[in-house]
């Protein structure tokens, strides 16, 4: 397990998520793709935290807490925020379905027309 491998996995996950978010027409799938992108970012953050944490800081703090946890903390925050975001997104999907009877993104062009 090296940093490169983790970054490659993260990049692949991110691009899959991006493709899904831009190409799929079902809103639920788009939301899932966005989750995929979040997790790609999380993976990258944790990987950087593990392999390239700031050296000076690490030396001072290792005795107490066993390493710098900045990246991990960020990842946990992102998971929390993503949960909130998905709750909000699902609410919007519900509202959209009630008003238009469809959850097809390509038909949601009311703001223009």
């Amino acid at each position: 397990m090296s940093l490169e491998n983790m970054l490659i996995v993260g990049a692949i996950l991110f691009v899959i998520g991006l493709y899904g978010a831009l190409a799929r027409r079902n809103v639920l799938v788009v939301l899932m793709s966005i989750e995929l992108m979040f997790n790609a970012v999380n993976l990258t953050l944790v990987a950087f935290a593990k392999y390239v944490a700031p050296a000076g800081l690490a030396e001072d703090l290792t005795q107490n807490i066993g390493g710098v946890l900045t990246g991990q903390v960020f990842a946990i925050f992102i998971i929390t925020v993503a949960a909130a975001e998905i709750a909000l997104g699902l609410g919007i999907v519900f509202a959209m379905y009630r008003s238009t009877g469809s959850i097809d993104l390509s038909e949601a062009t009311q703001l223009r027309n």
């Binding site: 991006l18 190409a23 788009v30 993104l105 390509s106 223009r112 027309n113």
Partner: protein
């Protein structure tokens, strides 16, 4: 010895009453609005006592240099605030606080029942505080700030009855016309900014007034000469422009007669005794600078003398009693300016001092007359001396003092100016002195005429009906209930035939000023011998002594002027000639249907139209040049250039938008997302390949 705190107190007491009236009394205790008057009167009584104490301290020669505090620093210039207490300040402090105190007491009666009673006292307190701030300021910037505050409170007080269009217009006019002069003052201050480094090189502060005096001393006399030559002349003229605006000197005098729309006690305090004298004070304050430039002195002297004469001619024909006095004030301020221009520093301030007493008295008398008759138009007065004996005799005393009759106050001060102008000034061209004397002497005759005309028309002959008759003649029904709207003071009990003397609260301050108008001349400045412990030429010597180190002794003659019986006889004879003509035309018969002066035809019309200067300013300068030429061209630019550009932009997008731009707006979220992603990628690649 007076401490610094006590001197600050003179300024802070009225300021504190302004804050208390505005913040506490008017919003919460307006039902007890009398409190606001009593508060200000109490504060001013203490301030007057402190001022007299300060004057006594200065007279005894105590050191009154309190140092300055740093206010702010801008670049290399340090601006300080501080107190400058010299003889000029000390005398002005007493004049301002005493006249203000008397006027506030009088206002208790005059403004009684006005719905804006506490607002009135708030403005009055603000004015008094700012005026004292002007007098005490040791720094030009500080002085300028209070100078503008004085202008603001004057604006507020002229427009006190702002529901009347004439009052609102007069307030605006006063503000704008004085502002024109203030531009000159501001430019003079900016000039100091540019000289700040030269001052600093000598260890001086360019804004500290005593430092400016020192900097103006010419090199030839061992001075520093930092301000010199043309720069000094223009600096002085800039200061004079500000002074001319405030003091109503030609050509900026047109606001002062209109300012009479304000309540009469306001006219007495602001537009007769103190604020308009601030211009004279300002020139006196910078006198050590003016004296170095013969050109500046010539301008001051000639404009002063010309104003003295021209304003007096307009005063001849006015029918509004307050306007007669307004022109008289302009004329007397012209005397003071001319005196300063001729180098008569002491005499000018002495005249300011006596003028404050007798002119405030005359204005309060006019207010007293208006309180009964409801009008200011003298054509509807007459015969009031029977019903208003106190007012009558006090106005006669004030009027004769204004004319300059022995032994009233005005005689001594006016005579000192005339004599000094006659003796001339070695620095100025001889013809300047002669022109000034000629103008001032002619002014004396006219003063005698218009003053007595005013007294005869108001107090002699038969009563001609007051406001009731005036409204009837104007074609309006004479309903007493409406009298308060056209009359100046609200008079709930207005009855046309019910003429009465004003209440004591109004007569008492007039009595005090009347005593001043009698005694302030000879007692304060005995002319040829020591009187009751007062040395001769006391005020003049005192003032000059305060400036001694800054005056160009030896170049200008500052010797005090001994009384000259010939000049006194000449001026009295000339004044009596004016008085005699007034008696022949107005005194023998009651006022006939036509004013005898109307026989002068075109001259009369020229004078009643104020030399068409108002028409010139408003018709040509404002309407034609400013509105039509300047504002009109700006309006054209705005409509065609600015609006045209905006319209063009809109037109371009309306017509070309559908072809290109709206195609890009698909409404598809994912298209936008793709563009954002591609853009992010492009930026990322840009960083990588850089």
């Amino acid at each position: 010895m007076v401490g610094e705190l006590a001197v600050w107190g003179i300024f802070l007491l009225p300021l504190a009453s302004f804050v208390i009236i505005a913040v506490v009394i008017r919003p919460f205790l307006n039902r007890f609005s009398l409190l606001s008057g009593l508060l200000l009167i109490g504060a001013l009584a203490v301030a007057l006592w402190l001022s007299i104490d300060t004057l006594a301290s200065v007279v005894r020669g105590h050191e009154m240099d309190f140092g300055s505090r740093t206010w702010l620093q801008a670049g290399g210039a340090t601006i300080e605030i501080g107190l400058l207490v010299d003889p000029l300040t000390a005398i002005m402090l007493v004049v301002v606080t005493s006249v203000s105190l008397l006027v506030q007491i009088y206002s208790l009666g005059y403004m009684n029942g006005d719905p804006g009673f506490s607002r009135y006292y708030a403005y009055m307190a603000l004015f008094t505080a700012s005026m004292l701030g002007v007098v005490l300021a040791s720094n030009v910037i500080q002085l300028y700030a209070f100078w503008e505050l004085v202008g603001v409170s004057s604006y507020l007080l002229i427009g006190f009855w702002h529901e009347r269009p004439a009052a609102a217009a007069a307030a605006k006019k006063a503000f704008i016309v004085t502002r024109i002069g203030d531009v000159g003052f501001l430019i003079a201050i900016l000039y100091l900014f540019f000289q700040a480094d030269k001052f600093a090189a000598q260890g001086l502060n360019a804004f500290h007034i005593p430092d400016i005096w020192q900097a103006a001393q010419p090199v030839a006399l061992g001075g520093l000469g930092i301000l010199a030559g043309t720069g000094l002349t223009w600096f002085s003229l800039g200061i004079f422009a500000g002074a001319a605006g405030k003091s109503g000197q030609f050509p900026l005098h047109t606001w002062l007669p209109d300012a009479m729309e304000g309540p009469t006690p306001v006219s007495a305090l602001i537009h007769a005794a103190t604020m308009v004298a601030a211009g004279v004070f300002l020139v006196a304050r910078f006198y050590p600078v003016f004296q170095v430039s013969a050109q500046a002195m010539t301008v001051v002297a000639l404009i002063g003398a010309f104003t003295a004469l021209m304003a007096a001619t307009m005063g001849l024909v006015m029918n509004d009693i307050k306007r007669v006095m307004a022109y008289s004030t302009i004329s007397q301020l012209g005397y003071m300016m001319a005196a300063l221009g001729m180098g008569l520093y002491g005499a000018a301030i002495f005249h300011l001092f006596t003028h404050a007493a007798f002119k405030a008295l005359l204005f309060l008398g006019a207010g007293s007359v208006n309180h009964t008759t409801g009008t200011f138009n003298m054509r509807y007065m007459g015969g009031l001396r029977r019903q208003m004996p106190y007012t009558y005799w006090l106005v006669v005393i004030g009027g004769l003092s204004l004319v300059g009759i022995v032994p009233l106050a005005g005689f001594w001060s006016k005579d000192e100016i005339l004599l000094g102008a006659w003796n001339g000034n070695v620095l100025l061209e001889p013809w300047v002195g002669r022109a000034v004397v000629a103008g001032l002497l002619a002014g004396v005759a006219l003063t005698g005429f218009y003053t007595l005309r005013m007294i005869f028309m108001t107090f002699h002959g038969e009563y001609r009906g007051g406001i009731g008759q005036e409204m009837e003649d104007a074609g309006q029904p004479a309903v007493p209930a409406h009298a308060g709207q056209t009359g100046n003071a609200p008079r709930p009990d207005s009855g046309d035939t019910h003429l009465h003397e004003s209440p004591w609260v109004m007569v008492a301050p007039m009595l005090a000023l009347g005593i001043g108008a009698v005694l302030a001349g000879f007692l304060a400045n005995p002319q040829w011998f020591d009187l009751a412990g007062i040395p001769k030429h006391w005020i003049t010597e005192f003032l000059i002594h305060g400036m001694e180190s800054n005056l160009l002794v030896g170049v200008l003659h500052f010797g005090t002027l001994d009384f000259n019986p010939w000049m006194a006889l000449a001026s009295t004879a000339i004044a009596l000639a004016g008085v005699g003509v007034a008696y022949l035309l107005y005194g023998i018969r009651s006022l006939p249907g036509r004013d005898p002066l109307e026989r002068a035809g075109p001259v009369h019309r020229l004078l009643t139209q104020k030399y068409y200067l108002d028409a010139l300013y408003e018709g040509v300068a404002v309407r034609r040049i400013f509105y039509r030429a300047f504002a009109g061209s700006v309006d054209w630019l705005e409509r065609n250039l600015v609006d045209g550009a905006v319209d063009l932009l809109g037109w371009v997008f309306r017509n070309f938008g559908p072809l290109v731009l709206s195609r890009l707006q698909t409404g598809q979220v994912q298209t936008y997302g793709a563009v954002v992603a591609l853009g992010g990628l492009a930026i990322f690649l840009g960083f990588l390949l850089r």
